[in-house]
């Protein structure tokens, strides 16, 4: 199958969506970040000039405008840019978009997509490396999508734009350049379906976003030591594919959750609690959490490296749970 970059896959999904549905619009077109890949958006800017708007630096307003436009029956795709900036637009995100459907007893739909780039990107420091997805999961009412491969990002983005719910679509800055098999044609990946990126019998490693790639690297290393790791990517946090997670841990009896959000009240903690609660009897070792320690992201490279969920840290955690008796 043909290989294209993660960024190119995003552009394909956006292009198909804009062409297919005249009510789809883009608020903010630096969807691919500020790197060289941003030129991939130029053809779209040309082809759909009347539906692509580059807003001022007014995060609160664009989040709110996206919600309003969606309530008014269109399907805006709003680019918040670096995920750390979502805090500037936090109120309309959680007080308007997330609650409108429930508050109106289902009368109002909010089919908006909020796009952001999260994660440790190399020198992003404390205000450009944020990963707010766990906090957004804690606020009920938002669908949360974290594609980890070019194939997934295309299919999930198509689903996100078709979804009648407010969807937070989170890419990792480091994923943009990775290449992978992507079908030429149009396809969607339904929400709530986790994907086993690599099967294994000894330990389940749940990872999200860019850390899925890290976990696959770790699995290679561990395979050489005779440890067969199953790498599971939930792909969407809301809705969450709890069944597949519990099935996998039911087989392996051991779990490591690897993720880039901060440890406290983070994704690793929640998934660990869910499995401990519903899969207690199948656990043969404590669940290990490999996450970003509770420290603001430091700029300097050795320090940034020190808080990154690396393949080495995942390997150590896996070896610990395997050794547990």
């Amino acid at each position: 199958m043909r290989k294209i970059s993660y960024a190119a896959a995003i552009v394909e999904a956006l292009s198909t969506s804009l062409a297919e549905d005249a009510s789809v619009s883009l608020v903010g077109s630096y969807v691919l970040g500020l790197g060289p890949k941003r030129v991939l958006m130029d053809p779209l800017r040309a082809a759909f000039a009347d539906r692509i708007f580059d807003p001022p630096t007014s995060e609160a307003a664009i989040v709110s405008i996206g919600a309003g436009a969606a309530m008014a029956g269109t399907r805006p795709f709003v680019d918040i840019g670096t995920a750390s900036f979502s805090y500037v637009g936090w109120s309309p995100l959680v007080n308007e978009a997330a609650v409108a459907c429930h508050m109106s007893n289902g009368a109002i739909r909010v089919p908006v997509v909020y796009h952001m780039l999260h994660g440790l990107r190399g020198g992003g420091a404390a205000q450009h490396s944020g990963s707010p997805q766990a906090m957004l999961w804690n606020a009920a009412g938002l669908e949360i999508v974290l594609p980890s491969s070019p194939h997934d990002v295309k299919g999930l983005l198509r689903s996100a734009i078709k979804s009648d719910n407010p969807t937070v679509f989170i890419n990792h800055a480091r994923l943009m350049d990775i290449e992978g098999d992507v079908p030429e044609g149009d396809y969607t990946i339904p929400f709530g379906h986790a994907d086993i990126k690599r099967p294994g019998r000894d330990v389940t490693v749940i990872a999200t976003s860019y850390v899925v790639q890290t976990a696959l690297t770790a699995a290679e290393t561990l395979a050489r030591e005779g440890i067969e790791v199953e790498v599971l990517d939930p792909r969407t946090l809301v809705p969450l594919d709890q069944d597949l997670i519990l099935k996998s841990v039911g087989r392996t009896g051991r779990l490591v959750v690897a993720d880039e959000t901060n440890l406290s009240c983070g994704i690793a903690s929640e998934l660990s609690a869910i499995v401990a609660e519903h899969g207690f009897k199948s656990l043969r070792a404590p669940i290990m959490r490999v996450a970003r320690p509770n420290i603001p992201t430091p700029f300097s490279q050795p320090l940034e490296q020190a808080i990154t969920p690396t393949a080495d840290r995942i390997c150590d955690a896996v070896r610990q749970v395997v050794a547990w008796t």
Binding site: Y87, V99, H102, A125, N138, A139, S264, S269, E277
Partner: protein, 330 residues
């Protein structure tokens, strides 16, 4: 023996504010309607009359800007107690809280400190609906650099507010609206409860109920019910979520081998998940049963009288789950 002096939760916090403002010129109070109006919950009543407009500052409805100003003032010698009227409105100060206040001491390598207290009223009750009832403290816990306290009794509220104001870093102080009128013993005069110390509100041997804020009272009521069934529950209130007194929690769970975590925030991705995970991690070999979690239903808090009470479990439901946990995993 004379019965101890009592006060309401609201009055206890106010006592701490009066005390600290008298003690320290640099303590100022900022917020909406907190001046002459005395606060929408009357939680700042009398401060304006005593300390005047220079130290008790009414802000416009400009949460982000006003909070940012408090952060700047804290960096330059003031100790602001900044009030966000409803906990739901911390959404409006999120950027200044997460991207500035929490990180400035770290980013400046200690050149600057941000000695401010963000106090806000949270909790479900009184039919205020989806934008005036949430307990969003899990967000603050998720952000490195913030201390998070959540007192459940008038005495703790007074002592922790004093400690929060004297702390040199940003402290988020969550008060449950529905506790404001609760009356209980409160020490007079200068009284400080150190941040980071859990409190065993009731001792027991069969299971540990780890409960925050208002849920500590639900847990105590549940413990009463359980006692009737000869189940002895220990109730621990962490009192502060950052720093978390892990030793006290784990020691208790190692004794009882069972735990339920109860918190007023949304259940998914919240405080209950964090505490359950960390307790399971540290007491795995002592656990006879999964650590259960009890929190707010993951829905926007509905207004209607018939729906609102369903969002948070009551003592009966908590006791039922506790009994099942003890019996089911003998």
């Amino acid at each position: 023996m004379p019965s101890p002096r009592t006060a309401t939760y609201r009055a206890a916090v106010l006592e701490a504010l009066f005390g600290e403002m008298q003690r320290d010129e640099s303590v100022i109070v900022m917020g909406e309607d907190i001046g002459a109006a005395g606060g929408v919950f009357k939680q700042t009543e009398g401060l304006f009359a005593q300390f005047g407009a220079e130290r008790v500052i009414d802000t416009p409805i400009s949460e982000a800007g006003a909070f940012g100003i408090a952060v700047g003032a804290a960096m330059t010698g003031q100790r602001p107690v900044f009030e966000v009227m409803f906990g739901d409105f911390i959404t409006l100060v999120m950027d200044q809280l997460v991207n500035q206040a929490a990180k400035i001491s770290y980013m400046s390598a200690g050149q600057f400190h941000v000695p401010l207290v963000l106090r806000t009223a949270v909790g479900i009750g009184g039919n205020l609906g989806p934008q005036h009832s949430q307990s969003l403290h899990a967000w603050a816990v998720h952000i490195p650099g913030l201390k998070v306290v959540m007192p459940s009794t008038p005495a703790d509220a007074k002592g922790l507010m004093a400690a929060a104001i004297r702390d040199d870093g940003p402290v988020i102080f969550f008060e449950d609206r529905m506790l404001y009128n609760m009356r209980d013993a409160v020490p007079e005069g200068d009284y400080v409860v150190p941040i980071g110390s859990a409190d065993i509100k009731r001792t027991g041997r069969d299971l540990t109920l780890i409960a925050t804020g208002r849920m500590a009272h639900v847990a105590l009521a549940a413990a009463e019910l359980l006692a009737k069934d000869d189940i002895s529950a220990e109730v621990i209130d962490p009192r502060s979520l950052v720093p978390l007194d892990l030793d006290t929690l784990v020691a208790s769970v190692k004794r009882t081998s069972r735990a339920i975590v109860a918190d007023g925030g949304y259940r998914q991705y919240g405080v209950t998940g964090e505490i359950a995970a960390i307790v399971t991690e540290h007491a795995f070999d002592w656990l006879d049963a999964p650590v259960l979690r009890v929190g707010a239903a993951d829905v926007p808090i509905p207004f209607s009288k018939s729906l609102e009470p369903l969002v948070l479990p009551d003592a009966r439901r908590l006791a039922r789950e506790a009994a099942a946990l003890v019996r089911g995993f003998r």
